[in-house]
Symmetry: C3
């Protein structure tokens, strides 16, 4: 059995983390798949999906690390009108998403998402605010 | 066919890499799946799974890079009692695991894990020593 | 249904990004799978696969970021004959591939690869030039 779904996330800031675990859990429960996998796919280059604990202090640390690794105002060529027709000045968002990743494949067992005690599915808006889409494909046996 | 398994890894140090390829290969061979995929999932926020060569010198380089990218003693908010109830001072472990990744989906073909010549499945303990669990879901046709 | 394929990429430079989206799309279309997933797996430790926009300016930024995060000429132990029998001096390539990732699992729906508007499948040669292999496993229902 293969079931496709979409999840929309409306973000409010340029860089923002959102915990979407509960929505994914609900889609898995509603799918009828008991044993299998669920693929989570960001439909955007500047919107990432990854696993971590959902805690405000840690979210602040993640945003700080992203700025340390990929400074927004570094002299990126993607932001340079002489080399790029991109007018969003969002090279940092492309590079940060690449480091966090655009997809996850999560296990489903006994009809539930397989997650550790502190693990949550987080999405990272890196060039918002925007309306973002996560495509979800649930695949397995009932 | 979908088969679930767990693999336990007892770590001995705070930061430590372990090659678990042989255990995964054995589970795949025992599953009866000939063509399909195997999902490897860390059940922890501070325990990662990824691909690389298994060589002591390279493992030392990986640990050094993790410290360069995410310094343990930087002023992370997750370690600050004013902002966090975490008493493990393990912000670095959360951030490093995020960069390495918590999961892999590997191909199975002709009953074997599909790996390149030097590729090994490595797990990274980032806040040990602890007992860690990797969940394994093998899915495909016999 | 499970279909295995291989894609060969001949690279021309030590560090080089190649857009392989069109080849993957063609393999998916030829597979007969309508709903499912496709696993893309680099068969090498120093060859990565990831998602981003395919634009020359951004590709230059990606290469620059890789050099900023993992300097080629840093004093890596993997490059030190006293600690390693590797004579390629390619520690940077191993570490960069680890950050970009060696695999992707992409959704297939209505017989097509599920990708966002600007998303392209890119492979990163990190220790070329060489002939590289990406293994592709397409799995799902027709």
């Amino acid at each position: 059995m293969v079931r496709g779904e979409t999840l929309t996330v409306q973000t409010e800031n340029r860089v923002e983390l959102t915990d979407v675990t509960d929505q994914i859990v609900a889609l898995v429960r509603g799918s009828g798949v008991r044993e299998g996998i669920v693929s989570l796919w960001s439909m955007h280059t500047t919107f990432a999906v990854f696993i971590n604990e959902s805690q405000q202090a840690l979210h602040a640390d993640i945003k700080r690390l992203l700025e340390m690794m990929v400074a927004r105002d570094a002299d990126w060529m993607h932001n340079d009108p002489d080399h790029s027709d991109c007018d969003r000045f969002n090279a940092d968002a492309h590079l940060r998403a690449m480091l966090l990743g655009h997809s996850l494949t999560v296990q489903v067992s006994a009809g539930e998402l397989v997650l550790g005690q502190w693990q949550r599915v987080l999405v990272a808006e890196l060039d918002g605010p925007r309306s973002r889409t996560l495509r979800i494909q649930i695949m397995g046996v009932s």
